[in-house]
Structures are given as C-alpha cells and as structure tokens.
C-alpha cells in the first residue's frame, strides 16, 4: 500500500513537473547580469566565488556552521564508547609499503594543489571548497596508508583548527556588522578579506571533511 502510494506519487510528480517545465517564459530577474555588473566591486574576479563569499557570503557562513555542526554531532553521539561487546576482528590485509611511500610522496603534492586551488579561486574555477576537499583527500589517503590514525576525541589544537576557519569568518562578519552591515567589505579590502576567509576556510574545511571520515572510521575497533 505504502509502496504503491509512494511510487504513484513519484510518477505523478515527474509527469507534472516535466509538463510544467516545458514551455516556461524567460525569468523576469536576471541575476547573472547583476553579478557581472557588480563583479568589480566584489573583490574577486570569478563570479561564483564572488557570489559565494560576497553577494551571498551569509549563506556560506551558515553552511560552514552546518558542516561544523555535523562534525560536532558525530562527536556527540557515541562518546561513551560502548562499542558492542563482541571482539571486532580486523581482517584488513597488511598495508602495502608501496602505498605508504606513495602517500608520503603524493600528500605534499596535494597540499600544493590545494594552495593553488585556493589562490585560483579568485579568478577562475576553484576556491576554498575544492581546496579543502583536496586537503581532506590527502588526510584520507594518509589514513588508508595507516600513517594517520582515526580520531577518538579531538584535542584543543585540533578543535582550534576545526573551528578556526569558521571563527575567522564569524569575526569578519562581526567586525563588518559593527561598521555597517554584516559581511559588507570595504571596497579596497574586499579581496584581502575574502582571501583571509578563504584561507581559514580551506584549513578548517580540510580538517572537518577529513574529520568526518576519520571520526566515522573510529568505530572499526582497530584503534580502540
């Protein structure tokens, strides 16, 4: 019964939407034009970055909050480590030493790529998210090569790294609010401020994204 209803509803939705999308009048507001007009005032040259960190920077601020929040929730559940009583057997094959060597070689390279992406974000595709993701990938690689253990409970330095990017963003927001409007950058400092925020975010995003992985893998029992 439920199955039938859901499938029927889904099919109806698809049919209705496809029908309704068919001949749609052009949109009355053209934001891409507005973005192009205001791009010079945004402090960056790449429109997506301009939207992300300036025109709709507030969205991004909240989004980082969501990400940090997810990490905190993962920390909050299962802190009492009542992992099931039966012994968990680690049947993972021994780590290939080649992988370890490779990881040691590749990781510095990945960090370099991340820095490039971050810097490139201001005028072409790239930016803090992509850079952070690369950093996180590096951490995951290290973990797979067993060069980086799963996290149990992050220490104070790690917590600083996790929340630091967000706090910098928040601080910029607070200062700008005191001087006028939230996340309103003075024209001449816009570029610098965005770079500052992005740098902080790259590190924190990398750590948080890596943290999501490293925290989730802690239940495996291999490190506990």
């Amino acid at each position: 019964m439920k199955r039938l209803l859901v499938v029927l509803g889904a099919v109806c939705l698809v049919v209705l939407l496809l029908g309704a999308m068919h001949d749609l009048a052009p949109a009355s507001v053209e934001l891409h034009a507005a973005v192009a007009t205001n791009l010079t005032a945004s402090g960056v040259e790449h429109p997506v970055t301009a939207v992300l960190l300036n025109f709709r920077g507030y969205d991004t601020l909240l989004e980082i909050a969501v990400l940090l929040l997810a990490l905190i929730v993962i920390l909050a559940i299962g802190m009492d480590a009542t992992i099931s009583a039966e012994a968990t057997v680690d049947v993972r094959p021994l780590v290939n030493p080649v992988l370890q060597t490779l990881a040691k070689l590749v990781v510095p390279l990945m960090i370099l790529v991340a820095v490039y992406l971050l810097w490139a974000g201001s005028f072409r595709p790239g930016g803090a998210f992509q850079a952070g993701a690369v950093l996180a990938a590096a951490a995951v690689l290290l973990h797979l090569a067993e060069l980086l253990p799963s996290w149990q409970s992050p220490g104070v330095k790690l917590r600083l790294g996790l929340a630091g990017g967000f706090l910098i963003f928040l601080a910029v927001g607070a200062v700008s609010l005191m001087q006028g409007a939230l996340l309103e950058y003075p024209l001449e400092q816009a570029g610098a401020l965005i770079l500052l925020i992005e740098s902080g975010l790259t590190v924190s995003l990398g750590l948080i994204l890596a943290g999501l992985f490293l925290l989730l893998s802690r239940d495996d029992g291999e490190t506990s």
Binding site: H22, L24, R56, D59, I64, L215
Partner: protein, 100 residues
Amino acid sequence: MTGGLLFASVGVILFAMGVAGVLLLGHLLRRILAFNIMGSGTFLVLVALAQRNGIADPVPQAMVLTGIVVAVAATALALALARRLYVLTGKLELSQDDEE
C-alpha cells in the same frame, strides 16, 4: 529542447527516484544513497532550469556548491547515526513497529 531543460528533467527524475528510495528502502545505507541522489536531482534542477537559455548563472551555481557541502554534512551525520545504531543493535534498519 535545450541541454538545460534536458538536465532539469533528469534532475526531476532523480529527485523522484531518490525520494521514493528514502521512503521505501529498508537498509539504512541505501536510504542514505537515495538521499544523495535526491539531493543531486534537486541541484541539477536548480542550475539547469535557471540556465535553460544557455547562459551561465553563477548564483544557482554558488547555491549548489553550498548545497553539496550541506548534503555531505547530512550524509556523514546519517552514516554516523547508522553505524552507531549498528554497533548498538547489530541492525541497519529501522523497525516498523515502533512507528506508531
């Protein structure tokens, strides 16, 4: 039909598949997969429909970047809960009987 409308249609189909999956599938990992497909569908509609005339619009693109990060946060959270449930009960499904 432009490429924009084509991908918007794909987005709609993906959304419908995803929602049906979240509602109907039993296994938690599959439901999480379904949620991601639902999300991807929505993102496609957001960008593709706005760009149906073929002009790139950075605003929905930025929104989707935000959305992807939010989705990965939700996915990680869901996985953490699912794995926790597995550790505690040895099951990866929500029983139906405690629903009412």
